[in-house]
């Protein structure tokens, strides 16, 4: 079969087919189309204002690398007037974060924007390696997720950012949608597909990638020969997060578009007006937004520092043992805690 000409310029040969609309495009037109779509998302949703200092959450992975590349490019091309910089979190995971941080450091030079690195160790006094040594490999995902969420906010505040842009990819968002359904987190479920979050109180975050262009991230990174790092975290995920990933992987293998469909579903969920959303307050300990007395990170940290690291993780299954009345070691540690009678802190909800 002879190669088609690019549907846009009708001049060069088509190099790829866009999954979304089956459009056959040449490389150049694809780049322009993709960048214009992100530009449109930014303009239509008024994601940025001139003069803002914007932190690009950079993990060194494909998505944040594309984001950094495109934002720098668009900022220059369309005179957004943004003060962009890369913000990286060093969880302190040997063999995982070391390598990806190297990538981010190269990005700093490639895109000519400054890089700020903040470590868990500096922010919380514990690196992930140390936490895993303390609690084992079972629930470390909970710690990392909670700490990372806050670390980006704390880091951005520390370096006086007005806003943060994150390059969530489709898999991440789909996984978040599923996890929020599975654990019944209505509040997060209703906002996890939103393009701008945290406008009230917390540092605003935005996701310039949306449904329409997520399918092209990989293609874009590939053809632009972007320098990114891809590896899995060296620690195993929580059981149910593991199942969710397996589910998504299986779905993708029988129907690739299922991932985008999950996000689409997440976007079209409408919650009944009678549904109570938890009230947003601030943590009494650190001042971070929290619907509880203490934010999740402070509860976890408190447990770590007092040698009760499983505090706040919630009960483990204890299937047969709870049925027969045998106590799990977890319920014992709950009893010893000094935060008495505060069920809200001890409730088994997990943070993303």
């Amino acid at each position: 079969m002879g190669r088609q000409m690019c549907e846009l310029c009708k001049d060069r040969r088509a190099a790829l087919i866009r999954p979304r609309n089956r459009q056959q495009l040449c490389q150049q037109c694809f780049f322009v189309a993709f960048e214009n779509e992100i530009h449109k998302t930014i303009v239509d949703n008024r994601l940025f204002k001139p003069g803002e200092r914007v932190a690009i959450a950079a993990s060194g992975g494909k998505d944040s690398t594309v984001l950094a590349h495109v934002l720098t490019e668009l900022n220059r091309r369309h005179n957004y007037g943004l003060d962009l910089f890369l913000l990286s979190i060093d969880e302190g995971i040997t063999g995982y974060r070391d390598d990806s941080l190297e990538t981010v450091k190269r990005n700093e030079i490639q895109y000519g924007i400054p890089l700020e690195v903040l470590s868990y160790k500096a922010l919380y006094g514990w690196s992930m390696d140390e936490i895993v040594r303390e609690i084992g490999r079972k629930n470390n995902c909970t710690f990392c997720g909670v700490f990372r969420r806050q670390a980006l906010d704390r880091g951005a505040a520390k370096v006086k950012a007005d806003k943060m842009a994150t390059g969530h990819n489709a898999d991440d968002i789909a996984e978040t949608v599923l996890l929020n359904i599975i654990r019944g987190d209505i509040a997060r479920l209703s906002r996890c597909t939103a393009i701008i979050t945290g406008e009230e109180g917390a540092l605003p975050r935005c996701k310039p990638f949306n449904l329409g262009n997520l399918d092209c991230l990989f293609t874009y990174a590939y053809y632009k020969k972007l320098d990114y790092f891809s590896t899995e975290c060296t620690y195993s995920p929580n059981a149910y997060r593991g199942y969710a990933r397996e589910f998504i992987k299986d779905l993708e293998s029988i129907r690739p578009r299922a991932i985008l469909d999950i996000i689409k579903s997440g976007e079209s969920f409408r919650f009944a007006l009678t549904t109570k959303m938890p009230e947003q307050g601030t943590c009494e300990k650190c001042g971070y937004i929290s619907s509880q007395k203490w934010c999740k990170a402070c509860v976890l940290l408190d447990g770590l520092n007092r040698g009760l690291p499983r505090l706040g993780i919630g009960r483990t299954r204890g299937k047969s043992s709870s049925a027969t009345g045998i106590q799990t070691d977890n319920s014992c540690s709950d009893k010893q805690t000094s935060i008495r009678n505060d069920k809200r802190i001890l409730k088994p909800s997990l943070d993303f």
């Binding site: 359904i181 199942y243 029988i254 299922a258 409408r270 007006l273 299937k319 049925a323």
Partner: protein, 490 residues
């Protein structure tokens, strides 16, 4: 079994337990006692996630959930004539048992009070089984065997025999054409799409039977576990908008409203109850029997929920509860703003075959929804009115759409390409999910599948297409005027 009598309350079940259960002690560990009776009755199962229970209390707990659902949401009233969709599996088997129990209780109440009040009525009960043997191409002898087994279950052990209707999936076509059913299913390449289409066709058959015999409610055995799997599967199919429609206690978008009294019961407990109470079930092969877990999205989602259950016994409840917070549709509420309106609507529906909602003026009234002609799920108006494909067809087309173009969807044999734009617009009368998994490409396979759909579905599609086009034409006219105005300003 004696302890299945309707009166088994938690206080009295201890003695019944002792009389009917062969007390062979569970092996190994020490005895665990029922948390409900507290009379030293030995527990036999673990229910409600972690509570050891005796068999009487398991029965009482399930029956109470069933009754609460029925009473709180008026799913069945004394004047109803109820049709139970029976699959032979444990959920619908338990539903059959419970409906019998409630009915015989109501009957004896009525008999007892005959002297005092005369107006007391007891709901009617019928059972329907839809044989899907044609789908699997099994021999007619095997198909007959399944029907015999179903008959033996339904027609024995009951004080008063219910009517049993046996239908076949191909009954959805006017002349019972199993060839056509096979051709239709084979034309759908996507396995998930094929499974879902079977479900949609089954509902059409159930509705046909219910309507024909004057039933007023259709009971499905959809339980919490199935609902949880359904929620995740629907999410993965992009059906987030319409998902709440299918998982409520009541769904009156059909000519005969559908009710789900088992909505708060989990598979595990239903299966346990069937086993220990000697309720006969029959295992019937279907498309996904013995299939790999990744044969379809539905299968994957169910396996996923089951794995999650291992890790945390309350996951299926949590998932179902999350989905219950999603906004239901007007047809999911039992109390309509005006019962008169509701009645009138029902009459309209009955008059126009299986056309769930009449939408003369779409998107105008808040109450009525436009439904997908194939799966009957409510269409997301944002998708429906502003989809890209529509815009393409409008921008490039620009010309008036004549009535003759509409013949396209009536199955005329004219060439396909001359209708490209209409066909794109036509596709959007279906929901995005059906478009993808059942009618994937209108230029090739989709046409064939469409032609093979039951007449009722195609009639609905045609009607919706006409409505939509007249609505779109209206919109275009509005747009043109606006654009003129804008130009004159600059």
């Amino acid at each position: 079994m004696a302890c299945d009598s309707a009166t088994c309350g938690s206080s009295s079940c201890g003695s019944q337990e002792a009389c009917c259960a062969p007390q062979k002690k569970p092996t190994g560990s020490q005895l665990v006692f029922c948390v409900k009776c507290k009379e030293g009755v030995v527990a036999r199962v673990v229910a409600n996630q972690s509570e050891p229970m005796c068999l009487g209390c398991l029965h009482a707990s399930l029956l109470s959930k069933f009754k609460t659902a029925i009473n709180n949401h008026s799913l069945v009233t004394p004047s109803d004539n109820v049709l139970l969709a029976f699959s032979g599996g444990p959920a619908s088997r338990v539903a059959l048992e419970f409906l019998r129990e409630i009915r015989s209780k109501a009957q004896s109440d009525k008999d007892a009070s005959r002297d005092h009040r005369s107006g007391l009525t007891v709901f009617g009960l019928g059972v329907v089984f839809v044989n899907e043997a044609t789908v699997l191409q099994v021999s007619s002898a095997d198909a007959q065997l399944v029907e015999d087994k179903i008959s033996s279950i339904v027609c024995t052990g009951s004080p008063r025999l219910e009517t049993l209707h046996i239908a076949r999936l191909e009954d959805v076509f006017k002349n019972e054409l199993s060839q056509r059913l096979r051709a239709l299913l084979e034309s759908v390449q996507d396995m998930t799409g094929r499974e879902d289409l079977i479900e949609y066709l089954r509902m059409q058959v159930l509705q046909q039977v219910a309507k024909e015999h004057g039933y007023t409610k259709l009971v499905l055995g959809l339980c919490t576990t199935r609902i949880a799997a359904r929620v995740l599967a629907a999410t993965a199919k992009g059906q987030g908008y319409s998902l709440p429609a299918d998982i409520q206690y009541l769904d009156s978008r059909w000519p005969v409203p559908v009710v789900l009294p088992l909505r708060d019961c989990v598979t595990r407990e239903l299966v346990l109850h069937c086993h220990v109470a000697n309720l006969d079930t029959v295992f019937i092969r279907n498309l996904s029997t013995m299939a790999d877990r990744s044969s379809s999205i539905n299968n994957l989602a169910h396996t996923f929920v089951t794995s999650l259950q291992e890790e945390n016994a309350s996951r299926e409840y949590t998932i179902a509860r999350t989905a219950a917070k999603l906004m239901p549709f007007s047809f999911n509420y039992s109390e309509c703003p005006s019962t008169y309106l509701a009645n009138r609507r029902r009459k309209d529906l009955l008059a126009t075959n299986i056309t769930p909602m009449n939408n003369k003026e779409m998107s105008s009234s808040s109450g009525s929804e436009v439904l997908c002609p194939v799966c009957s799920s409510p269409l997301d108006m944002l998708d429906y009115c502003n989809s890209d494909t529509d815009r393409v067809s409008l921008e490039e087309n620009g010309r008036h759409i004549d009535e003759e173009d509409l013949e396209y969807c009536g199955g005329s044999d004219r060439g396909i390409h001359s209708f490209t734009h209409q066909s794109i617009a036509f596709q959007t009368v279906f929901c995005a999910s059906c478009r993808f998994q059942i009618l994937p490409d209108v230029h090739t396979k989709g046409i064939q599948t469409y032609e093979l759909l039951p007449g009722s579905m195609r009639e609905r599609a045609q009607k919706q297409f006409k409505d939509k086009y007249s609505w779109m034409r209206h919109q275009i006219e509005d747009l043109l005027i606006e654009e003129d105005g804008a130009e004159s300003q600059t």
